[in-house]
Amino acid sequence: MQAAEKLVFKTPDVIIDRPTHYCPGCQHGTAHRIVGEVIDELGLADKTIAVASIGCSVFLYNYLNVDAVEAPHGRAPAVATGVKRARPDRTVFTYQGDGDLASIGMAEIMHAANRGERITVIFVNNTVYGMTGGQMAPTTMIGQATTTCPGGRCAEREGLPIKMAEIIGMLGGVVFCERVAVNSVKNIARAKKAVRKAFECQEQGLGFSFVEFLATCPTNWKMSPVDANKRIADELIPYFPLGTIVDRTGGGEDK
């Protein structure tokens, strides 16, 4: 007798069935799916309000079947503050890239974190401005060539890449902060665990939660998707180490 076949992996229900506009190998899709899996598993789909930011991921709202509002560039944490203060019973998260969050939106992210707003921030760091065509971002690696640092980023001229998860982890209102990657099956599993914890942290009303994703931008890195993915392990993770930076969800000391 043949054993029964079991469905072991499918797209989360909250993800809208449509092709994404992302380039081949772009890991926004992976991050979207992980957020979607967590929203499904925690049963939050019908009480979530997403705050979309500016950049390639502005179209997050085309892919997630939840209420959403579009924030000006960098302002998603302020918009999310307004949403959450007005509707504290709803689940509110922002999804922001590195140009949006770590450059123009630095004040908004720092203060939302410091106030301990009961929101979750998903930060996708791909070391470049994607949608505008590959300009230097605050997270661009030293030596990485972009359209606005064609000779490669230079520490003397442009400073060092900003380590957002570490900075956010220092702020008072932060209950959970972790950096993850989606470059391997193992890291994807860890990323999902972190996103789940971040949303749980909000559901329990504990405070601000932050997950930084290291992700690829093969197009603007001018690499094949496979080589771009390899760069995550070879170049990005050594500079942007993975792991939990703050976990006060147990109410105890920092991890």
């Binding site: 939840v66 209420d67 959403a68 918009v79 307004g82 959450k84 203060r85």
Partner: protein, 351 residues
């Protein structure tokens, strides 16, 4: 219950009006001369079960307003001129996203850091949109504490009627002046029945609030829709006409200057001079029709502002087919009094 009378500053009247209009969220940032508004609400709003946030900047405060407005609650922010420049980003997005909220500007002297005294230099910014793109705000310009209180209550209703930000444009005179006002009974409003606000998609399709329109023809469609809405707002045009019927000269002035000009007009009337006042209460939509009607009767016009000449453009546009307007500007940085206006009015009256 008989209406309660309280003796308060214009800034406090605005804050009290917001509270009595059922405002649930206020997002502020310190800047003179509007500080009494966030100070008042930082205590009163939480006591009334609402939320007060002192933001990290005017940029953030205005974007918090955008977020709260998206959920359909009554919300407000306030600032003064330099801070208003910083709020323009979010105001443009809110206009583009059709979000209702009340924004208060207690105008101070400019440009740049200017001073902390009264001025009307933000007329252009207030009535031309102020931020990027083609959009308009409903702009209400109170001249007294009572009118400030009443217009804030009105502003919330207008914001939801048109799903558009409404601007209250005052100045440092109005904000710091103390007068008795009659309060209305505080009412709880349910504006969230319009079927557009965000509260999670339980039992319905998801909703999206945005100002990005990339599809072929979509942005043109949105702009046409907004223009039709702004045209419909003309129904809200308000003004005060004081002794204009038999006037030979009509003085046009708004806000605190409108009030000061009224004193001068009253004084000159006592001397038998045929002068009147038209005080726009809505600066957008602008009271074109009553001005044009007065121009049609052969009257002359003098626009008086606490700036170097901004509203005078709108007066001239309104009456351009029949007449022109003189202009007298009180410099930002100088305090006007009724006697200062007498000379310019007499000069225009003589023609």
């Amino acid at each position: 219950m008989a209406p309660e009378r309280v003796f308060i500053k214009g800034n406090e009247a605005i804050a009290q009006g917001a509270l009595d209009a059922g405002c649930r969220c206020f997002f502020g940032y310190p800047i003179t001369p509007q500080n009494d508004i966030p100070e008042f609400l930082s205590k009163a709003l939480p006591e009334a079960g609402g939320e007060f946030v002192q933001a990290e900047s005017e940029v953030a405060a205005a974007n918090m307003l955008l977020g709260a407005a998206a959920t359909g609650v009554r919300c407000m922010t306030s600032s003064s001129s330099p801070g208003m420049s910083l709020k323009q980003e979010a105001i443009s997005y809110m206009a583009g996203s059709e979000l209702p909220a009340v924004v208060v500007n207690m105008n101070r002297g400019g440009p740049g850091l200017g001073d902390i005294g009264p001025a009307q230099g933000d007329y252009y910014q207030s009535t031309r949109g102020g931020g990027h793109g083609d959009y308009r705000l409903l702009v209400l310009a109170p001249a007294t504490c009572q009118e400030a209180y009443d217009l804030v209550i009105e502003a919330f209703a207008l914001a939801f009627r048109y799903r558009n930000p409404v601007l209250i444009l005052g100045d440092a005179i109005l904000g710091q002046m103390k007068e008795p006002i009659a309060r209305r009974e505080s009412v709880t409003y349910d504006d969230a029945s319009g079927g557009w606000h965000l509260d999670g998609n339980a039992g319905r399709d998801k909703r999206l609030i945005k100002s990005l329109f990339l599809d072929e023809g979509a942005l043109a469609g949105q702009n046409r829709h907004l223009m039709a809405k702004y045209a419909a707002m003309r129904a809200e045009t308000r003004w005060e006409a004081f002794q204009t019927e038999d006037a030979e000269l009509v003085v046009c002035a708004y806000g605190s200057i409108g009030r000061i000009a009224k004193s001068t007009v009253r004084k000159l009337r006592a001397r038998g001079l045929k002068v009147g006042l038209l005080r726009p209460i809505t600066l957008y939509p602008f009271p074109d029709a009553p001005l044009l009607a007065l121009a049609g009767q052969g009257k002359r016009f003098l626009t008086i502002e606490h700036n170097c000449g901004q509203m005078v453009d709108d007066v001239r546009l309104a009456i351009r087919t029949k007449a022109d307007s003189d202009f007298f500007g009180v410099m930002p940085g100088e305090l006007p009094n009724p006697d200062d206006l007498e000379g310019p009015i007499l000069k225009s009256l003589e023609g």
